[in-house]
Chain length 435, copies 2
């Protein structure tokens, strides 16, 4: 049985950057069966269902880096400088944050993301079983990367080896859950010893797990690793054989040309988080150089405590602005690249070739953007819409969302998470954590 | 007769940065009569009207720099480098743009601005009578700065002296229109000769007109003025006696410390336009240094052809991000400053002491922000809302807007401009201009 979605505009994010106006997407068993201009659609068979969609249909957005359970900490410590923010506000609260708060924060964050068109998120946090539970309840496709760290405070989760073992056990326990993929989330080169970094790499190779790590977010973390090892962070990780076939590195702000070449040579994907990098004054990542070197780059929201929303439209727009400012060139990054950073390139950065585009066999994760706001005009040719979408669009214009063919947002409202009700629980949890 | 607005939260943007939860604003004859915590409100008299307002009430936002008639050119030439964009797309279209397109573009832009909470806009463009007509039809408070320029293509409006004379005539013709203030809009130091710049200053002094000018938007324009005069743009303008009591300078990206001191010494206001400065790769303005020197700084959207929306929430957020990145300091600019950049400081930058705050005697320009989106939680104390407003809020959350006590937006819909209908006219006009 086919569900056919016939839309005013279909933007498949295919290699040719096609736009079909009008266009169709055929969905069968949660995957894309066919896509193209409406005039080219095959005849439907009895039992097939035709859905008319006003506006524009594009693939579900892929959030390359997040700590969404921190929704429960949104805005905490606003205005404090970074180290006081971490030490006085975030870390003490996180020490009190248990599985229930992690589940609730993920559930609410997933509802916010789905309402904004994000259908997949790469999540690094702790209490990962609870995180997965929240994500599944919301119907969000999620890569769960249980954090592995040897920093002060992390003893409560045991040794790095314990954290790695639990991640593998969680992967086994959730093997039947189609929405979830479990990997390993080594926190960073500066919060893990060499032994733990090697053990992550060995386990990832043996168990075929994707890996997610923070790399060169701030200038000082690179200075520390260089003082200890004589190498930049990418060079150091490469020297340990750390980079596997599905490693993604978040932030990557402070890279030189050699670092970019190392990431490219090892096929490492990059999660660019401009909102967080600006709010925390970390810097502007060399996105143009990374893309030119062939690195797959996607955008990420980072956690809502350093952003403070989960809005991938804003991240894509910031990616364009930062790249143009960094390079002093208004042609540094454009509309097509912005759309790729949110969809197909983001999927590639996470090593997920089943996401990010309407191509036969890929997941039927779909977003409908209503074009009712006046910012979507004037339009002389359908392709004009794409500029409006990137420069003037908003997560608030997402009206319907499907994950694997299942509708999870209808008329702008997430139907899987009762957000008005959960907000009361969120306030109570935030008050508990504030102590 | 008093209209009393009783709201869950009232943010008056007064010098103490008060927040009343709940609070009230009393309005009489289009102006604020009183404001304070709800418990402190005086008894109402017979005939007074009480309005209950859910959410947060703040002063109408002040857009410090715009060319809103360019709504009719939104997205035109997307992806072209700056000089080709101007020469091949924008200037040829503007040469065909007549009063009807200017009126329509302003009308639609005003509708978009009002729906996003902007109640005042500083507009520099040509066909200024038509611009004022569009603004008045929408019910937007507008400072109209007829452009004065001696650049190629401008001959169609006569000499600089002609343009100055028409501006004065327009001021006289619109003297009875409470929503409109007319000034002079000398385009820039690099598009006007010394004689014209002096004539602008003399006329502004004699006629008591506010002045609006582009200053140091790109690096190259300063190089040109320095080659010709040996001075930076601010120093050159100061040497001509150009700066009057109500001069506002847009952009001000490429300033050194001496330039900042010159602007401060002459009481020049600055319109900071981060969205446009990023899209066109112009650079990041020294907002922190300007504020520290005592310069009144507000944010502006610039024209929708270089932005591409008229969203002051986004501009304020970008102002924080750029300042933090520029200074490498997460404490460079914070939530309170962002809110001031949109309201009271923006009013000060334009020399309008009747706008930008709920203080007795000021205009009753008011914006209601609905707090229905999940990004406005968690909240442990009412002041937490302000961080959410700045970091996660959106023009889409503005639900009601009043200008001088008159409601112009209801439940998110502009009631003075029929935007769905005007969009058809906008498309037709855009097609005409494309030729």
């Amino acid at each position: 049985m086919i569900d056919r979605y016939l839309a005013d505009h279909v933007l498949p994010m295919d290699p040719a950057f096609s736009l079909y106006s009008p266009g169709f997407v055929d969905v069968a068993e949660g995957r894309v069966a066919a896509v193209g201009p409406a005039a080219g659609a095959a005849a439907l068979a009895p039992g097939d269902v035709l859905h008319h969609v006003e506006g524009l249909l594009l693939p579900g957005l892929v959030n390359c880096h997040a700590h969404s359970p921190m929704t429960v900490l949104r805005g905490a410590g606003e205005g404090l400088p970074l180290q006081r923010w971490l030490r006085e506000v975030i870390w003490p609260r996180e020490a009190r944050l248990g599985p229930e708060e992690a589940r609730l924060g993920m559930l609410v964050g997933a509802g916010e993301m789905l309402q904004g068109g994000i259908t997949t998120s790469a999540e690094m946090y702790f209490h990962s079983e609870a995180v997965a539970e929240g994500a599944v309840a919301a119907g969000l496709r999620t890569l769960v990367f249980p954090a592995v760290a040897e920093a002060p405070g992390w003893e409560r989760f045991g040794t790095a080896a314990d954290m790695i073992r639990s991640a593998v056990a969680l992967r086994d326990a959730l093997a039947g859950e189609d929405l979830i993929e479990v990997g390993l989330g080594p926190h960073a080169a500066y919060t893990l010893g060499e032994g733990a970094l090697r053990e992550v790499a060995e386990t990832a190779a043996a168990e075929r797990l994707p890996v997610h790590i923070h790399v060169a977010e701030t200038r000082t973390e690179g200075d520390g690793v260089r003082a200890r090892t004589g190498l930049s962070i990418p060079a150091y990780l490469a020297s340990l054989g750390f980079f596997g076939p599905r490693t993604a590195a978040a932030h990557c702000v402070w890279l030189d040309g050699e670092d970019v070449a190392i990431l490219a040579a090892h096929g490492v994907g990059v999660a660019h988080c401009p909102g967080s990098n600006g709010k925390l004054a970390s810097g502007m990542a060399p996105v143009k150089a990374l893309r030119s070197a062939g690195v797959a780059v996607g955008v990420g929201t980072d956690g809502p405590a350093s952003n403070d929303n989960l809005d991938l439209w804003e991240e894509a727009r910031l990616a364009l602005l930062y790249s143009r400012l960094r390079e002093g060139d208004a042609g540094a990054l454009g509309v097509e690249e912005a759309l790729r950073l949110m969809t197909c390139d983001a999927a590639a950065a996470l090593g997920r070739d089943d996401l990010g585009a309407f191509l036969p066999g890929r997941r039927a994760d779909m977003v409908r953007v209503s074009l009712e706001d006046v910012v979507y005009d004037p339009v002389l040719a359908p392709r004009d819409l794409l500029g409006h979408l990137v420069w003037a669009g908003s997560r608030r214009d997402v009206s319907d969302v499907w994950v694997g063919g299942r509708r999870v947002v209808e008329a702008g409202r997430c139907v899987t998470v009762d957000l008005p009700r959960e907000r009361a629980a969120l306030r109570a949890a935030a008050a508990r954590l504030a102590g």
